[in-house]
Structure formats: C-alpha cells, structure tokens
C-alpha cells in the first residue's frame, strides 16, 4: 500500500503534504516496541523526564530519580549488538559523582529551546541548574525555596529567557523574577487556573510543566463561568497540542481531559477508562497532527484518539509504572521512561522494511527465528 502511495505521488495524484501526512499517520499507527533500537540505560532510578532537543531533533535528554541526567544520540547508535540491534549508549551523563551533580532526584530535564549547548535540570534538592552540554559544567544554578517539581522554557519566546519552575513553596509570589546574567527564573506556582491561563497566553504552545500533586488546577476557572472542578484530585500531567489550541490534563482521579485553551472550556471528550499513577507527575505526549495522545497508565502506555477518546493502542513492555513519554515527530518514535530504569523505544514496525534491513545485517550467531517443529 505504501508502494501505491508512492506511485500516486510519482504520478502527481497525491499532494506532497498529504502524502507526508498519510505516511506519518501510517507510521504512527504501527508503533510497536522496537527490536532494532534500544537505549542502554545509565540510570539507577526511575526515569522522570524525557525530551528530544528542538533544534536537531537528535539528542534525547533524560532525567532520573538517582539524581542523574543523560543525553542519548537518537539517530546514530554507538554500537550494534548481534549485527542489527542498535544500542544507543548515553553520550553524556551527569550524576551524583559529578562535582555539581544533583543530590536528589532530577524531576525534570529540559533543553534550552534554541540551542543544544545548554540544558536545564530541576531537582528535589531545591536547585535548578543550567548546564553547558559541551563542557558538562554547571553554568548557572538557582536555589529555589522548596523541592522543584518541574521546569520548562518557552520554545517560541523571543523577548525573554525565562525558566518556569514549579516548586513546593506556595508562598513564593507568582511572578518573582530573579535577575541574572543570562537567564531569569520565573517561578510559576500552578495553584490557580488564572496562572495557568496566563502562561497559556504567554507561551501559546507549551505549558510549563506539571501541577504539584497537592494542588488543584482549574484550567477554565477565571475565563468562563464554568467554575466546575477540572479533576477530583491532583493534576498530574499537562500537555498542549503542538498547535497550542488544546490542553490535555491528567489527574489523580484517573481521568484525562481535553480543554479548549481559547475558550477555557472542557471539550467533554470522554476518554476511555484508564488507571493512572497518582503519586508522580506524568509526562504526556501528543502526535504532531494532534490525532493521538500517549499517556502512561501504570506499567503500560495507552494511545487515545484525541477527538474520540477511544483507546487506539496499548503499549506493554515496562515492568514498573511509566512516568513519562515523549513522541518524536521527526522519527515518529515514542520514547518512554519508567520506574524500572528503562527507556524504551517504540518505533513504527513495518515488517517489509525490517526484513529488508535484516537481509543485509543478519548474522548467524543467533538461532533464526523460525518455526522449529522437530516432532
């Protein structure tokens, strides 16, 4: 069928954009645990956050509960196992052994949006640190008044360089700006829908992080008459669609809700039953065309159709609850990080392609995976 699409594209029957969309959709629909690509985890604790850089779409940054953060090259593997299993080892690791490493769990690690030379880590040891990627040194650190649960930077901002953080201290004023040479701290306490709303307007594309689990979030509280509670329980995860029009929120009441950012209304999409981890912030992922949302449901990841709320697929493979997932639009791959320390790659499985690849790389060291009915 993909040959057919290619042929139609050749003949000019299919527009470039539509061809691309169709190919992406097809690939996204066939996601499965990749046997060709794996990350060798350097972490000794739960993986809390995952992000691929926004410039080259090549470097995956992960932060883990053992206070470490690592960077992987998503595209080029360092070594191959058994000839065809690309093993991606971390090309950079910052852990407790590092002189400036975090003492406690890294809750969030984000790239500096305009350059891969910097990244930001937020940790439970009350520090937010800005790292130079090339020299692996801390270029700046900010002491926060409490545990830092989340940090984010606006990918489209041109007039400021602010890091939004969500920390445990509730008395910190909303817009406390801490001037510094290159970065400024913008401590966004996600206590009210108002703050939420403001940040939406501010960024229009990316929500700065997750709700502190003891706080409630009311995305549409101030902007409309709808004063209903968004979630019965803590809000554990937030994600806007890539076009910035919709916001997804997950709560400890095991619900996923889709909000229209412009109006602040609940779209009332009924997502099918799920069971969510309540004790940790979740990192959701949305495909770029928004059609699917990936949400960690305990030890599995579920893909829901964004508009119908139907379960599209369930990804099983982790042995412990999953904390975060990141969808790479470039490769149409899903990366998930879990409490079992693993970062798994879910890539489009197209048997025809993989078999073709296999023919070149196959080694006879391993038993060929075929039927073997001896008796």
């Amino acid at each position: 069928m993909w040959c057919e699409a290619v042929r139609r594209r050749e003949r000019g029957e299919l527009g470039a954009r539509r061809f691309e969309t169709a190919a992406r959709a097809r690939r996204t629909a066939s996601l499965a645990l990749s046997n060709r690509k794996e990350f060798a985890t350097p972490h000794n604790g739960a993986v809390n956050s995952l992000q691929v850089d926004l410039i080259e779409r090549r470097y995956l940054l992960s932060g883990a509960s053992d206070g470490s953060a690592a960077i992987f090259d998503v595209q080029n593997a360092i070594e191959y196992e058994a000839g065809f299993i690309a093993k991606h080892r971390s090309i950079l690791l910052v852990d407790k052994q590092h002189e400036n490493g975090h003492k406690f769990a890294v809750s969030m690690a984000v790239w500096y949006p305009v350059d891969t030379g910097l990244f930001v880590t937020a940790s439970f040891d009350q520090y937010v640190k800005v790292w130079d990627t090339n020299s692996t040194q801390v270029v700046m650190d900010f002491k926060m008044p409490g545990k830092v649960y989340s940090a984010a930077m606006s990918p489209i901002a041109t007039t400021h360089m602010l890091i939004a953080t969500g920390s445990a201290d509730v008395q910190d004023p909303l817009n406390s700006l801490q001037p510094s040479s290159s970065s400024k701290i913008y401590s966004a306490q996600q206590r009210t829908g108002k703050s939420k709303k403001q940040s939406h307007k501010l960024h229009k594309s990316q929500i700065p992080g997750h709700g502190h689990i003891q706080q409630r979030l009311h995305p549409g509280l101030s902007s409309s008459q709808n004063r209903a509670t968004a979630h019965y329980g803590a809000v554990t995860g937030l994600r806007t669609t890539t076009d910035g029009m919709y916001l997804l929120s997950s709560g400890s009441d095991s619900r996923l809700r889709l909000w229209d950012i412009d109006s602040g209304c609940n779209t009332l999409v009924n997502f099918e039953a799920m069971r969510l981890q309540t004790s940790k912030p979740l990192q959701l992922a949305v495909t770029e065309d928004p059609s699917l949302v990936f949400i960690p449901c305990m030890a599995s990841i579920k893909a829901y159709n964004l508009w119908s709320g139907m379960t599209f697929q369930t990804f099983r493979g982790h042995y412990e609850p999953v904390n975060c997932c990141y969808y790479s639009a470039q490769e149409q791959e899903l990366y998930t990080g879990s409490n079992d320390r693993q970062i798994l790659v879910w890539s489009p499985s197209t048997p025809a392609f993989t078999e073709m690849e296999d023919d070149g790389k196959r080694q006879m060291d391993f038993v060929v995976d075929e039927d073997n009915w001896s008796d």
């Binding site: 645990l33 794996e38 099983r316 320390r341 798994l344 391993f366 073997n372 009915w373």
Partner: protein, 722 residues
C-alpha cells in the same frame, strides 16, 4: 466385533466416533481439551504422550496455536501453582517451536512472567509451595534459554531478563554463562597451544639434534664401559673353567646373570667416563625426557586446521621418547645406577654423600673387584652398605655432646637433679638468685623493647621485687585412676563403666577377676553369681550373713522366704510375710554352724539376699513395663479419638461417606489426589491435639469465669450470707 446390525443401532454409538468427528470439526477444541487434560493432573510433569499430541495439534494451524496460547494464558492465571507449572511446561515447548507462539507470548511477557516467576511481592506464586518452587525454577531456566536462543529477535525477552536480573534480583542459574566461560577458556588454551606448536615447528630440528647428541653420548659411554667390562669378563671367564658349567641351561642362566650384572665398578681409570655418562644421563632424563613428554601432551591437545605437521611431529616425538626410554632401560639393566644423581635430595648434599662414600669405597673396592662373585652387586648396594659406616663415623665425632653426657656428670649433681622438684615456668625463675633493683618505665617492668629515655632513678628495690615474685603454686590433685566396674554383661563382655564407688547397674565396685567374678574378700559384698543352692541341704533355706552391715539388705532379709524342700537349686519366691522370715531367721540362726561351714552359710545368705534383690528388681521392671504399656495405650486412645472426632468435618467424613466419595465410587475409578486436594492444608494429628488442648483450656477458663461471676452475683445478692 461381529454383531447384528439391529442390536448395534440400538446401542449408544461407540466412544471413538464423536471424538474423531469433533477433532475434524475443530482443531481448537481438541487442543483445548488436550491442554485441559494435560494440566488437570497431579503428576509432577506433563504426560509425554499428551504433550506430543498437543504439539502435533498446534502444528496443524495458526488458529490452534492462538487458541493454545489463549488457554495457556488463562491457565497461568489460575491460583494453583501446579496448574501453572504444567501450563508453563506446555508453553515452553510451544515457545521453542512456534514462531507465532513466540511473538504472541513476547507481547504479553510483562504480564506472563509475574505469573510464572512470582517476583512481584504483591502477587506471589499461589500454593502449593512445592509446585511453586518448581515453577519458579523452571521459569527462570526457560527464560534464560529463551533469551539465549531468541533474545536477538525479541526485545521483550532482553528486557525481561535484564529486569529480573537487575531490578527484581532474581537469581539466574547461569548455566549458559558457565558453558560460555568454559568455551572461552578452551579457546584460550587452544590459542596458547597453537602458538607453542608454531614455536615447535621452528625449533623441531634443533631439539631433535640435541636429544640425539645426548643419546649418542650415552651410547658411546656405555660402549666404552662395555668394552672394558668385556675385557674384564673375558678375563674372569678365562679364569673360571668353562667346563664347570656343563649344561647349556646352566650356562645360559649364568650368561644372563652375567649380562644383567654386566657392570664395571667405577675406578679411577674410568671415572671420567662415568662422570660424563652421568652428566649426559641426567641431562637426558631430567630435561629431554620431560620436554619430549610435554611436547607430546601439547601435540595431543592442540587442535589445528592442518594436522599433518602435528601428526608427523607427534610420531617423531614418540620415537624419540621410546629411544630415550630404551637408553634409560639399558642403563638400569646394566646396573649403572645413574638415577642417584638426580634423586630428590638436594644436589649439594648428594655431592657430599658421594664424597664420603667415595672416600670409603676406595679402600675395599680392589678386594671386591678381585672376587668376581660379587659382580652382581650394584653401586647402589655398595653405597648403601657403606653409608652406615660413614654415619657412625660422624656419630663418633659428635658423641661427647649428646650421648655420653649423663655419665660424665658428677654423682652429687646427679643426685641433686634427681631430688629437685619440677616447677612450671614462672617469672620467679627469671629472676632466680638475682637481688638487683629493677628498672621501670611507664609500662612497668617490661624493658625489653624500650627505646626511649631511661630514668635510672625509677627503680623498684630488690626487696620489693622479691616480695612481688614470691612463688606460689596451686595444689593439684594427683589423677586417680577410676577402675572399671567389670561386671559381666548379658551380651557378653565386661561392664566398662568407670564409677567411683557404685556402678548404677551392677552395684558397688569390687575387685573382679578376668571373667568378671568378684574376688572375695573377707567382708565381700554380694554379687551376681552365687554358689548353686542345690549344694545345700533342704533343711535350712536362708541364711544371714552376720557381718553384713547393710541396712536395706537386712530389710530384704526380713522379706525373704525360702520354702522347705527346695533342693533343686531353684529358689522359689513368694510375696514375703515378714513373720515367716523372722521365723526363718530364727531357724537359720539356730542352724548356723550346724553341719556346714561358716563360709557356706555366708555364701548362702549372700545368695539369698541377692535373689531377693533380683526378684525385687524384676518386679519393679515388670511394674514399669506394665505402666508404660498402659500409658501408651492411653495415648493411643486419645490420639485415635482426636484424629477421628476433633473436627466435625473429619468426623462426618469418617462416619458416613461424603457425596464426593460416593460419586467417585460410582465413577468406578479410584482417583488419586485431586488438584484441589493439593491446595488443602494437611491437618496433622499434632494440630488436632493442639486444637483440642486449646479447646479444653478455653472451656476450663470459661467455666471458671462463669462460676466466678455466679459467685460474685450471689455475694452481691446475699451480702451477709457467705
């Protein structure tokens, strides 16, 4: 089976037909029933025939495999470890064979493994425990095997193994790792061997030449010696008249012995030859033979692509080895004992020995050479013969220090030595006879390793030291040898118990002879063996030993009766009225010294006492035995009662057959234990007794409480009536 058609139509259709039709209609249902049958037994493993049937059924179609997968998955979630074990066995078989099954299982491996390995604390493996252990072991082993075989194709397998190893800390048997390690070791050895063979390939000619030269040297040396010896033998033979050895046989024997003993003693003339010979022999045996053997072992073990060189080299080496052996044998046959050169002792010592021996040999050897009869004796023998001589020589040299010293002491000193007490060492002896002041430092009197300043004023006066050093000794009792009881035992032998005075089994310890009979003393105690009573007359029956001071024995005497007329040596006893005993006493008193000697009377008395005691003991034993029997009987009764009726269920079971039993009976099969029965906790009689005791205690407590409350209420109701 020839039968009328009508009758066969009336009968129900035979068993096989519907089964076969079912099988043809749907393979799924057949595989389902097969798996069901295979997993609903209590046997420790799946029936091989069933397993084969399942495999062949699964092979038929993908649908069957999917079906089997679904059924196995549902079986794996059953709360019964044995069902899971059997299901896992089948799953393992299918996994090893079907790609479809592998891919199906890989997708749900994260749910499957906890059911098989039970590594999640919240969901441990279900009972029974024995099957659970087996299941866990089998699962971990299978997982390792799967990982080894198919790990490259299934990320899930790699993940599972890594998770179990790193996070869940499940111990893998590591069989695969061990095998791989062994293979690696093998490969390394082969590498080394190959390198060695390469080296050999370069050096083979040189090695061979060297060995050859050594062998030649020895041969030459031997030739020289033989020539000499032949000269000598000829000389000797000339001297001896040939005709003395008349028969051919005798001559051949003689020749053989001569050949065997073909030996030329080492003399000054051929000393150089011998030295050279010895040297090259040593070289040959200690170096070349060993190298050759090493090379052979290397060549045998090495695994080369091209075996031609190996074979040829091996052949050559074996030849060389045989040659060396031949030379060595020849040397030893010739009696040239060259081995002594490399005996295990230090070489230097050896040289010294040689020196001593040689020096001694010089004198007698000409004489020996002269007598040709001694030809057969080897140099070893002569040396052995000489050695003691040398030894005594040295002894003589050393003698004054060691052996003769006691004789040379003056007698007075010897006497003092004899009287002197032997003291254990103490610090007194350190300062014996010294009356100097002692220096001290901070650590006290220990000045041995004092490296610092010495303060000459810090001293302890000699008087104080003497006071401190007063010798004290503790009284030690001399060890007393406790004599064994030595009474004869029933099973033979003597009692070896060592008690101070009284053996608990055989009474007071008395001196006994070799068979255990007591050696009588004047006031000896009674013992097991008395003289036969038959010797005595019937007229008097019991006698008292007047000297016996023992109180209870006198009591016993009172209880003892011997009826008249017991002349046959057997004493007959009754329960003893003391009156008669007294009478008997009187009688015996009157009879003392009547017509028998006093000793006999005493003996009789002893015998009587002994008999009474024995009977008493027997009685006691019998009583005890009866008591024990009663107790045992009682216990058994209690146990039986407890076993039967402690629980209503078991009681009911015992009394009337349960419907399950009757159904089983109707089915006509004596069915073994069911799967459900494996889950039941087995109630032992111990549990039942514990339960009963608990019940009894609870009942007692309740009764007490009830009576107490009653009492209280009564008191309250009638306060002035107690």
């Amino acid at each position: 089976m020839p039968r009328p058609a009508a009758s066969s139509s009336s009968r129900p259709p035979p068993e096989g037909e519907p089964a076969s039709s079912r099988a043809t209609s749907s393979a799924e249902s057949s595989i389902a029933s097969l798996i069901d049958r295979a997993t609903s037994t209590t046997s420790p493993s799946v029936d091989p025939a069933l397993l084969r049937a399942i495999k062949s059924a699964a092979r038929a179609s993908d649908g069957a495999i999917r079906d089997a997968f679904r059924i196995l998955l549902s079986l794996m979630s059953k709360p019964h470890a044995h069902v899971r074990l059997l299901a896992f066995t089948i799953a393992d078989e299918l996994f090893m064979r079907s790609k479809l099954f592998r891919s199906l299982l890989a997708d749900v491996l994260d749910g499957f493994l906890p059911l098989a390995v039970g590594f999640r604390r919240a969901h441990p493996l279900p009972p029974p425990a024995a099957s659970a252990t087996l299941l866990r072991k089998a699962a971990v082993q299978a997982l390792e095997r799967w990982h080894h075989l198919f790990g490259a194709h299934y990320r899930q397998l790699r993940l599972a193994v890594e998770y179990l190893k790193e996070s869940a800390r499940v111990q893998f048997p590591g069989l695969r790792a061990a095998v791989e390690a062994r293979a690696a070791r093998e490969a390394r050895t082969q590498e080394i061997l190959t390198a060695k063979v390469e080296q050999l390939r370069r050096n083979l000619a040189a090695i061979k030449a060297e060995i050859r030269s050594a062998i030649d040297e020895i041969r030459n040396g031997l030739d020289i010696i033989r020539i000499e010896s032949e000269k000598f033998n000829n000389y000797a033979n000339d001297e001896d008249a040939e005709q003395e050895i008349a028969s051919l046989a005798m001559r051949s024997i003689r020749m053989a012995s001569l050949m065997a003993g073909e030996w030329v003693p080492e003399t000054q003339e051929n000393e150089a030859v011998f030295d050279a010979l010895r040297e090259s022999y040593r070289l040959l045996v200690s170096k070349h033979l060993v190298t050759v053997q090493e090379w052979i072992s290397v060549l045998v073990r090495v695994n080369l692509a091209n075996n031609r060189f190996r074979d040829s080299a091996l052949k050559e080496f074996i030849d060389v080895k045989n040659e060396i052996r031949a030379v060595r044998n020849r040397c030893s046959e010739l009696g040239l004992n060259l081995d002594n050169v490399h005996r295990r002792k230090g070489v230097q010592e050896e040289e010294d020995d040689d020196f001593w021996v040689e020096g001694n040999i010089e004198v007698p050897s000409p004489g020996r050479v002269g007598t040709s009869a001694d030809v057969a004796s080897s140099s070893k023998d002569t040396r052995k013969g000489k050695k003691p001589v040398g030894g005594t020589d040295t002894d003589d040299g050393k003698a004054p220090n060691a052996g003769n010293s006691p004789q040379e002491l003056d007698p007075e000193r010897a006497k003092l030595h004899a009287e002197a007490p032997v003291l254990p060492w103490s610090s007194v002896l350190d300062r014996w006879g010294s009356n100097r002041d002692a220096l001290v430092n901070q650590r006290g009197l220990e000045l041995e390793s004092h490296w610092g300043r010495v303060d000459n004023d810090a001293v302890i006066p000699a008087a104080k030291i003497a006071e401190l050093n007063v010798h004290s000794s503790i009284y030690r009792e001399d060890p007393v040898e406790i004599l064994p009881c030595l009474a004869p035992l029933k099973k033979g032998g003597l009692c070896q118990r060592r008690d101070l005075k009284i053996c608990p089994f055989h009474g007071p310890i008395v001196p006994r002879d070799a068979e255990g009979n007591p050696i009588y003393q004047s006031d000896g105690h009674c013992d097991a063996e008395g003289n036969p009573v038959g010797q005595t007359d019937g007229r008097y029956d019991a006698a008292v030993s007047p000297i016996d001071p023992n109180e209870d024995s006198s009591d016993l005497r009172e209880n003892m009766i011997m009826p008249d007329g017991s002349s046959d040596g057997e004493c007959i006893y009754e329960s003893s009225p003391s009156r008669t005993a007294n009478i008997n006493n009187d009688i015996s008193d009157s009879d003392v010294g009547h017509d028998l000697g006093k000793i006999t009377v005493e003996q009789l008395a002893r015998q009587a006492v002994q008999n009474v005691r024995k009977r008493d003991r027997d009685d006691k034993k019998a009583l005890e035995k009866a008591q024990r029997v009663r107790i045992r009987q009682h216990n058994q009764d209690v146990l039986r009662e407890a076993a039967l009726a402690s629980t209503s269920r078991s009681a009911a079971d015992y009394d009337l057959p349960s419907p399950a039993v009757s159904r089983r009976g109707r089915r006509g099969k004596t069915k073994g234990p069911t799967l459900a029965s494996m889950l039941k906790k087995k109630v032992t009689s111990k549990d039942r007794i514990a339960e009963r005791l608990l019940n009894a205690r609870a009942r007692d407590a309740t009764i007490r409480e009830v009576s107490h409350t009653e009492d209280m209420s009564y008191r309250e109701a009638f306060p002035n009536q107690w």
